[in-house]
């Protein structure tokens, strides 16, 4: 890619930096021309710097890193097999089983540590599928318009009519409660918000001058979509991808709660699903995995909000 084109691509995201200073001027005044802050090396780095300034975003990132670390180092930290029966059922938390045992006598702490792997993997992979489908549909729709747009919008409309959780439930029941099925089902039912967002971004960008300039310079559609429009539409897509991870984790829990967890792989959702009927006898077996899901989703959405604020400085005051 030529350097000229590169600067063209960077141009529209650049004001994010200048916008911060312009932000100081309250509405109603024609603000003084923004004083550009020391020129950023790249918009991504500027956004990262902005992100690090948000305490809640950083807190979320730290929480998330800790959770991931625990999931990776799990077997070293707490080698107990989460599916193995280690004691009596419903044993309350004590020094042997720090967080008690579940209805079969399995160690809850082991379940938490090992289950985080499965749950967070499902979350990440399902979110990835969601974004791939959503962005592809939205990009084609928004970029080409016309009949392609009409068709894809109709398809999206159809998917929006089906409550995602219930749709995923039917899919998993039909194809069997395995971790892969669960992941694919979650990814396949929750892509419409990402598609709507991408479509709107592409429609907005499609008519901007620098895109027209690239088109006039003879760039092909594929090149325009992948190299010109998409990079500029990326910030909101990244935000929505982060949020999609949270949604997917919640869905894994919801499906397990309805009895659609993979019984051969310990996950946070499965722990709740299997112990829910005994909540009055063994609160710990349900409360802790639920809290783990809560923390993971909270961490992800804090990070998402932080990124959103960083790439979207005009909304920062909200």
């Amino acid at each position: 890619m030529s350097t000229v084109e590169q600067t063209l691509i960077v141009a529209p995201t650049e004001p994010s930096d200048a916008g911060i200073t312009a932000n100081a001027a309250a509405p109603g005044t024609t603000s003084a021309p923004a004083q550009p802050v020391a020129k950023a090396a790249s918009p991504a780095r500027a956004a990262l710097r902005q992100f690090l300034r948000s305490p809640s975003g950083v807190a979320g990132a730290i929480m998330l890193l800790l959770l991931i670390l625990v999931a990776i180092l799990g077997p070293i930290l707490w080698p107990t097999d989460p599916l193995e029966i280690v004691g009596l059922p419903f044993a309350p938390p004590d020094p042997d089983a720090l967080l008690g045992t579940d209805y079969l006598g399995r160690d809850v702490l082991a379940g938490l540590i090992h289950g985080g792997r499965a749950t967070m993997t499902v979350g990440a992979v399902a979110a990835f599928i969601t974004i791939i489908i959503g962005v592809s549909v939205g990009a084609l729709s928004g970029f080409f318009g016309g009949w392609i747009d009409s068709l894809l919008v109709k398809i999206s409309e159809f998917f929006q009519v089906l409550p995602p959780l219930l749709f995923a439930m039917v899919l998993v029941t039909l194809f069997g409660p395995k971790l892969t099925t669960i992941t694919i089902a979650i990814g396949a039912v929750s892509w419409t918000p990402a598609a709507r967002l991408t479509r709107a971004e592409f429609m907005r960008l499609r008519d901007l001058d620098f895109i027209k300039a690239s088109r006039a310079a003879g760039a092909g559609n594929w090149h325009l979509i992948m190299r010109v429009v998409l990079p500029n539409a990326l910030p909101p897509i990244i935000v929505s991808a982060t949020l999609a991870i949270g949604v997917a984790i919640l869905f894994e829990g919801g499906l397990s709660f309805l009895g659609l967890g993979d019984p051969n792989t310990m996950s946070w959702g499965l722990m709740i699903g299997q112990n829910r009927n005994y909540v009055l006898d063994a609160w710990w077996a349900v409360t802790f995995p639920g809290a783990a899901i809560f923390l993971a989703v909270l961490a992800v959405s804090l990070v998402g909000d932080g990124i959103n604020d960083a790439v979207n400085p005009r909304l920062r005051r909200r």
Partner: protein, 332 residues
């Protein structure tokens, strides 16, 4: 007789992101008598809209009055209680805004929006208020007023909407009407109609008008007095005939020269300072030192301008005052 409005030494500042106060308007003084019109003229960002909002006490968040008094029929609105202020707004003093599209609520009929001022200030029943609203629509020369009262802003043209705004503003027969660029969003032909309407209404009601505009030529006929603002400072003030005929400040001269025609029955200024447009830009907020704010753009600037701070307004003729070191040299 005391003036309807008297603004004394008014300064407004904006709080910037670090909490520092940045002056937006500095030491502005003017007054309007019953039945008279003063025009505040200047480019956008010169502080004229902030003056209007300060009088209404509707300054946006972050803007504060740092000095001065605003006397409305002798009563200082800056120290009035909130409830008193609400009673004054829309009743004693009212305002016509620049953008009739966004200044009218899209979800209510125009009749309703006129009637509610009457309903809340005049203790009328809803029905009486609605009937009077129709009368005011007739007063601003809207045809088929009964029907129009039941339509929504988006169903009207820009000129119609601005008439509605005016009807709304005059509904309670205010002593003072502030019109903030009432014609900027409108076609030129409609502009003239709106100014005629304001003049006619003023004749009938003897309302004092503060007319805010960037278009000096457009108001020369309607206004009795003019105050020219530049970068938050009043740089020239006087009777409009006098200012149009003998502008003394280089900026005022520039503003007049930007106008190809002056419908005022006076000969053209003998010397055309051919600016077409005045080069350069208004200094940004926070970049305004004690120097003359127009210094960088001024073609007359001399050594005295560069070495001295901006002079205070100095009388040069009866009622005509200028803030310029060279005012006496720049003869008309």
């Amino acid at each position: 007789m005391a003036p309807v409005l008297s603004v004394e030494d008014l300064s407004v500042s904006m709080t910037d992101r670090d909490g520092k106060l940045v002056p937006v308007l500095e030491n502005l003084s003017f007054s309007v008598d019953r039945g008279r019109t003063i025009a505040l003229v200047g480019e956008s960002g010169c502080g004229k809209s902030m003056t209007a909002l300060a009088i209404m006490r509707l300054l946006p968040e972050g803007f504060v009055v740092t000095s001065g008094r605003i006397l409305l029929e002798g009563e200082d609105v800056l120290t009035a209680r909130n409830q008193r202020m609400r009673a004054l707004r829309g009743d004693t003093v009212s305002m016509v805004f620049q953008e009739p599209m966004t200044a009218l609520n899209p979800l209510y009929t125009v009749g309703d929006q006129i009637a509610e001022a009457l309903y809340h200030h005049r203790n009328l029943s809803r029905r009486e208020a609605n009937e009077q609203a129709v009368e005011f629509l007739k007063a601003v020369q809207i045809p088929a007023a009964e029907h129009r009262a039941k339509t929504y802003p988006h169903q009207m043209s820009g000129g119609m909407r601005q008439r509605v705004m005016i009807a709304m503003a005059i509904a309670c027969k205010p002593k003072l009407l502030i019109a903030d660029e009432p014609t900027t969003a409108l076609d030129v032909t409609v502009q003239a109609q709106i100014f005629d309407l304001l003049a006619k209404l003023q004749e009938e009601t003897e309302t004092a008008i503060v007319l805010i505009t960037h278009d000096l030529g457009a108001v020369a006929e309607l206004a009795d007095d003019i105050a020219v603002l530049y970068a938050g400072r009043c740089i020239e003030t006087g009777p409009s005939q006098e200012i149009a005929a003998r502008p003394r400040h280089p900026y005022t001269r520039g503003l007049l020269a930007c106008m190809p025609h002056l419908a005022i029955g006076q000969p053209k200024p003998s010397v055309w300072v051919d600016l077409g447009e005045i080069p350069g830009m208004v200094p940004g907020l926070g970049n305004r030192g004690p120097d003359c704010a127009f210094l960088a753009r001024c073609s007359y600037a001399s050594e005295v301008c560069r070495s001295q701070p901006q002079p205070p307004l100095g009388a040069i003729d009866t009622g005509h005052a200028v803030s310029c070191w060279l005012a006496r040299e720049i003869a008309a």
